[in-house]
Symmetry: C2
Subunit: 361 residues, 2 copies
């Protein structure tokens, strides 16, 4: 079992990584007998994990309610969020309740924002079941829902009480979802850790084959990196913005294509290639490194170009709604070689447009 | 001009109270030329205040957008909240925007929650135009929308950057709204300040006649009391709960009757009388004090009984969804004589029911 701490003063919390956590009652401590919890999950995951998790909790004397949402990014809306509040109020759950987010990034983001907002804040536990949620979205307290005009535009910084990562979940993950998670994994290598990028080049086949040791190391390393960044800059005033490599382009793809048509990691993969092209055009990223990035993403089963038929000009209005825009000026995350990145304001529009055109299919 | 500070470390902020603030550009400092703001107001207030406020801001070089919501507690919903986000994204507004809540408690609660949630948090300024918002809801950072199953169930603790109280607003306030605000004013006397209660008994006629000196003193005293309570207990782990005197009963009335049919202060007035009856039945509130409370509320034009036809049993399910419920146990705010109150758990259901029956019309 691996245990990492996200260090945030009195809001610090542990990330536990191991196989078989869902069959170990200790996983969900410090929930105590008599406590009330609401498990938030979706229609795809409920048949796989809900009963074992309920059984473990109920065995410990915990009162378990559940709300099962439809599956998909297109349901990450205020309207679907309201269903969580309705479920909580129907029972009713008090301020001392705990929400358990059992699912991928969409469930984690929604249950987290529901926990931040229900009665102005209740406790929640992240139980990520996808690679993407395990390595990225479940750690660090970013919660949100989408708006038709922009992804993750409505939300809160709100930290979980703990993160419980059961490696067994990945056995039933569809290959496209695994690849989507690998996009965020590769991102850490590009922006923060060249040695990890090299490790990924060496172990991509093992990861795709779900080798337990490779997965365990990979998830731990990503969580370590994320925990360090979040501890240093919880509310994204600086360093944390680097974790958005590829996301400004990627969110434009997700919003333009309709939420759920491109998986988040797929859009981020294409976006990272675009950012690499922008960096190359600005003279801070070599053609060799660009080939290594596109090569590794492609091996992970990810797109390295934007959607067919989406013109470069169609990216810009979406990109201007990015949360990193300040005083109407776009700020992009750009790699500076492999293992290092920067937040860069004032990249000219023609470079941005060219970087997108560089990646058209 | 009166100025009070709400002391919350780096999130401290000023409350400014005076006549004529809307015609003084200095009121909206530290907004600077080039800043982007979104004024949130409603259909009733827009014709009264929007143009002067816009003019002052635009004169200072600030870029002003506006969103005008329908007027009434029944519109304090997630669906109407989404209109604020849409207005922000259509322009688009970045993380460096400022929301200005120009209105009563409903506008302040909604614009505040929108500010807490838009891009995970932007700045906002409270500009309360009703007595209720000026003495209570605009100060202290409680923001929320309602759910059909419970009032203020979805929200955040999120402090404004400043509170601007222009006393001239009260000249155009409908009498029923003035009375509603006086309910919260009288509340401060009952729970925290006997001398202020006596002052209110002596000056109620002046307040109802909108005497400027009386209003100015009254609003300042309420803001001082609220600022002290909030500074001591921002997130309502103890002392702050006292500000909810009458609210557990009152929220039940508002929810049962349909939001907007009883004004918030009207429901709180009836609820305070019920709480006083419960306290009397528990031997901690005299019949004389009860008469003084009902007498003062009645003079302020407020109901001292619940809605006709709402049976005591109909209050309880709503009351059990109160945010002060812990482990399924109701906690009530009860006065202990005039000027002092307590949070009390374990009040027997029959006392609660009897306290409601004591106040039936």
């Amino acid at each position: 079992m691996e245990r990492i701490t996200v260090t945030l003063g009195e809001r610090s919390y542990p990330i536990t990584i191991a196989a078989g956590l869902f069959s170990d009652p200790a996983s969900f401590l410090p929930l105590k007998s008599g406590a009330q919890v609401m498990v938030v999950t979706n229609e795809t995951l409920a048949p796989l994990y809900l009963n074992p998790v309920r059984a473990i909790l109920e065995h410990a004397g915990i009162i378990v309610d559940q709300v099962i949402l439809p599956d998909g990014e297109q349901y990450k809306t205020l309207a679907v969020l309201e269903r969580i509040f309705t479920a909580l109020l129907e029972k009713p759950h008090g301020r001392d309740t705990t929400l358990i987010a059992l699912g991928g990034g969409v469930i984690g983001d929604m249950a987290g924002f529901a926990a931040a907002s229900y009665q102005r804040g209740v406790r929640f536990i992240q139980v990520p079941t996808t690679l993407l949620a395990q390595v990225d979205s479940s750690v660090g307290g970013k919660t949100a829902v989408n708006h038709p005009l922009g992804k993750n535009m409505i939300g809160a910084f709100y930290q979980p009480a703990s993160v419980i990562i059961d490696l067994d979940c990945l056995k039933s993950l569809p290959p496209r979802e695994l690849s989507s998670g690998l996009a965020e994994v590769i991102k850490y290598g590009i922006i923060l850790d060249y040695a990890f990028f090299v490790w990924l080049e060496e172990h991509m086949d093992s990861l795709l084959a779900l080798d337990p040791d490779a997965l365990s190391y990979c998830i731990r390393r990503c969580c370590e990196l994320k925990a360090e960044v979040v501890a240093a800059d919880e509310r994204e005033t600086g360093l944390r913005a680097l974790l958005n490599l590829g996301h400004t382009y990627g969110h434009a793809i997700e919003t333009h294509m309709g939420y759920g048509n491109w998986l988040h990691g797929e859009a981020v993969a294409a976006g990272m290639v675009m950012a690499a092209h922008a960096a190359r055009r600005l003279g801070q990223f070599s053609a060799d490194d660009l080939l290594r990035v596109t090569g590794l993403l492609a091996r992970a089963g990810l797109p390295v170009a934007g959607p067919e038929g989406m013109a470069p000009e169609e990216y810009l209005p979406h990109m201007m709604r990015d949360k990193k825009v300040v005083s109407g000026k776009l700020r992009l995350i750009l790699p500076q070689g492999l293992g290092k990145a920067e937040v860069r304001a004032g990249v000219p529009d023609d470079i941005v447009l060219a970087s997108i055109a560089d990646c058209r299919t």
